[in-house]
């Protein structure tokens, strides 16, 4: 899947889960930068990403998904 398609799908999910329709994804964005990004919303976000992209993350992978850029990179790899 193309990177900009991944980004636009992911933006949609982030806006919905974190309740912020103006949210713009950035490579370096982490839970520190998004108001509602905690354990609960993280799990909701991961579930939505898995559903939308038809992928499954392993626990070890979750541990590396700290920045938005990490999520995009892992998705790119899984979907290539």
């Amino acid at each position: 899947m193309e990177r900009n398609l991944i980004e636009s799908k992911l933006t949609e999910i982030f806006r919905e889960v974190f309740n912020d329709s103006a949210l713009v994804l950035q490579e370096d964005m982490t839970a520190n930068d998004v108001e509602n990004w905690d354990s609960l919303t993280h799990m909701m976000m991961i579930a939505k990403v898995e559903e939308a992209f038809g992928v499954k993350f392993r626990l070890k992978e979750l541990n590396k998904l700290k920045r938005v850029g990490d999520i995009i990179a892992v998705l790119e790899e899984k979907l290539s």
Binding site: D20, A31, S39, L40, M43, L59
Partner: protein, 499 residues
């Protein structure tokens, strides 16, 4: 007295610093800090506060996740002071309200830049290493405060629970009497915010025994980071909220938790089926279910589970067991009389772990505490607000809350506080209901009596007033609220709209 703060808290920690200087005291954000370093940090802060003029025994502490913040707690305690946590991620308004309420005249802050302008601040991360010896003052009364924790209050103002040195000493004595043993070889998880009292257990149990504390940095997703710590650092002991394990449950088959020897579940009702799965994952662990409100110092009852055995539960929730050694726990009816075993009533607790009361809140103090005769003596009790019964063995079964509170990710939330802020902003009626989602995690739904509108401004406003875990995750617009037979908003009908 059998126990006191000087002998049971301060002396053991000073002796850990002396005996285990080269060993690790903390692992924070993948960085190790030895007991020597920890001692030096405490010394530096002691020196800094010795040169400052302040009068309030209570000192604000910005609770970053770093060595300076932990060192500040002990510097204050050695000096007989009390810490009042101010969370860096809480809205500034909420923190300033706490500063005002307690009339703070000193704040210790390890941030790069401080958010506080009106209260004098000591920046603790830039202090020099000095040779001030670590000595605990021996002239401090046991009734002096050790910490004040502010929790959600239904009037829209956070309310402060005051814990005395005596309370903490009694807690530590109770804790060791459960038989959980920790030594300098242990690696202990500290998975709780310092604004939440299980953090006090998490650091004290480790540091009084020379063990190492592994923290979870702010901005990390807790359950994911904790799983990494458990595997990479072979954590041997830790207290966790059941919701943390609930998040991890889908990954249990991938998680190596064999290093865990003992594990405490606390802060929320603990589901039996989750624990059965957890036993299969953490194959060497003993599991304990601990219960307790902040008002009775961290925990006041506990139940030790049996692996492969039958564990007591009610509606799938594990028993909270029996009172700890320094706690009296009775099930009382509305008239304050003890009910027979098997009958439900309110769990009320007494003993040296019970708070001296809420900070400057005479009304709440009047309604929350009462005296009752026990064995010919007048004993002061706290109303926990929890509906429970005792079975024939005296084990307490937890049945739910009596009032309008919810536990969100382990944090106690007064739904009334959220409603208050929504109403203030909207000038419309709003009702909050906590519910368990598909993953059995608690979320907050807010119902607004209105036609639908864009709620972003409302949510943005609420975020300036409350921590993020208190912000509703689902919104419903209802033009007119349904009423029940008592002409009150029918919350049962509202709740049905959620699914």
């Amino acid at each position: 007295m059998k126990y006191n703060f000087y002998n049971d808290v301060l002396t053991p920690i000073l002796s850990s610093i002396e005996r285990y200087g080269e060993r690790n005291a903390f692992c924070i954000d993948e960085q190790m800090y030895s007991y020597n370093t920890f001692g030096e940090k405490i010394s530096g802060i002691l020196d800094a506060i010795a040169h400052i003029e302040y009068h309030n025994q209570k000192v604000g502490l910005v609770i970053n996740d770093d060595i300076e913040t932990y060192a500040s707690i002990f510097a204050l305690w050695l000096q007989g002071k009390c810490y009042v946590p101010l969370h860096p991620n809480w809205p500034l308004d909420r923190c300033l309200d706490i500063c005002d309420q307690v009339e703070l005249d000193l704040i210790l802050d390890s941030s790069k830049e401080t958010r506080y302008e009106k209260v004098p601040v000591v920046m603790t991360s830039t202090l020099d290493v000095v040779g001030v010896p670590l000595i605990a003052r021996g002239d401090i009364e046991e009734e002096e405060l050790a910490y004040i924790l502010f929790t959600s209050g239904s009037t829209g103002k956070p309310k402060g629970v005051q814990l005395m040195r005596k309370n903490v000493a009694a807690f530590m004595d109770s804790f060791w009497q459960t038989g959980i043993a920790i030594n300098e070889e242990d690696r202990c998880l500290q998975a709780f915010d310092l604004s939440f009292d299980v953090s006090v257990q998490s650091y004290l149990v480790a540091l009084t025994r020379g063990a190492c504390v592994y923290t979870i940095p702010h901005g990390q997703v807790k359950y994911v980071y904790a799983s990494g710590l458990i595997e990479d650092h072979q954590i041997t002991f830790g207290a966790m909220a059941p919701s943390m394990l609930r998040y991890l449950q889908p990954y249990f088959s991938e998680l190596d938790a064999t290093s865990l020897k003992a594990c405490i579940l606390t802060a929320e009702a603990c589901p039996l089926n989750l624990m059965e799965d957890w036993y299969n994952c953490a194959t060497n662990t003993e599991i304990y279910d601990f219960y307790g409100p902040t008002e009775a110092t961290i925990y006041c009852t506990y139940y030790k589970l049996t692996r492969g055995g039958s564990n007591k539960s009610l509606n799938g929730i594990i028993s909270i067991g029996k009172p700890m050694a320094n706690v009296i726990g009775l099930i009382l009816d509305e008239e304050g009389k003890e009910v027979p075993n098997g009958e439900k009533g309110e769990l009320c607790v007494a003993g040296d772990q019970v708070t001296c009361g809420y900070w400057k809140n005479p009304e709440k103090n009047k309604s929350s505490f009462f005296f009752k005769e026990v064995n010919g003596e007048q004993v002061r009790f706290y109303h926990t607000g929890d509906l429970c019964y005792k079975d024939e063995d005296g084990d307490i079964m937890y049945s739910g809350r009596l009032d309008h509170q919810a536990k969100i990710q382990g944090f106690r939330v007064e739904l009334g506080e959220i409603e208050y802020h929504a109403r203030e902003y909207l000038k419309k009626n709003a009702v909050c209901i906590a519910f368990d989602n598909e993953s059995a995690l608690t979320e907050i739904a807010m119902f607004i009596e209105s036609n639908e509108f864009n709620a972003e401004e409302l949510l943005a406003y609420m975020r300036t007033k409350m921590p993020s875990y208190m912000i509703p995750t689902r919104l419903f617009f209802v033009p007119v609220f349904p009423l029940n037979s008592n002409d009150k908003t029918d919350k049962v009908k509202l709740k049905e709209m959620i699914h």
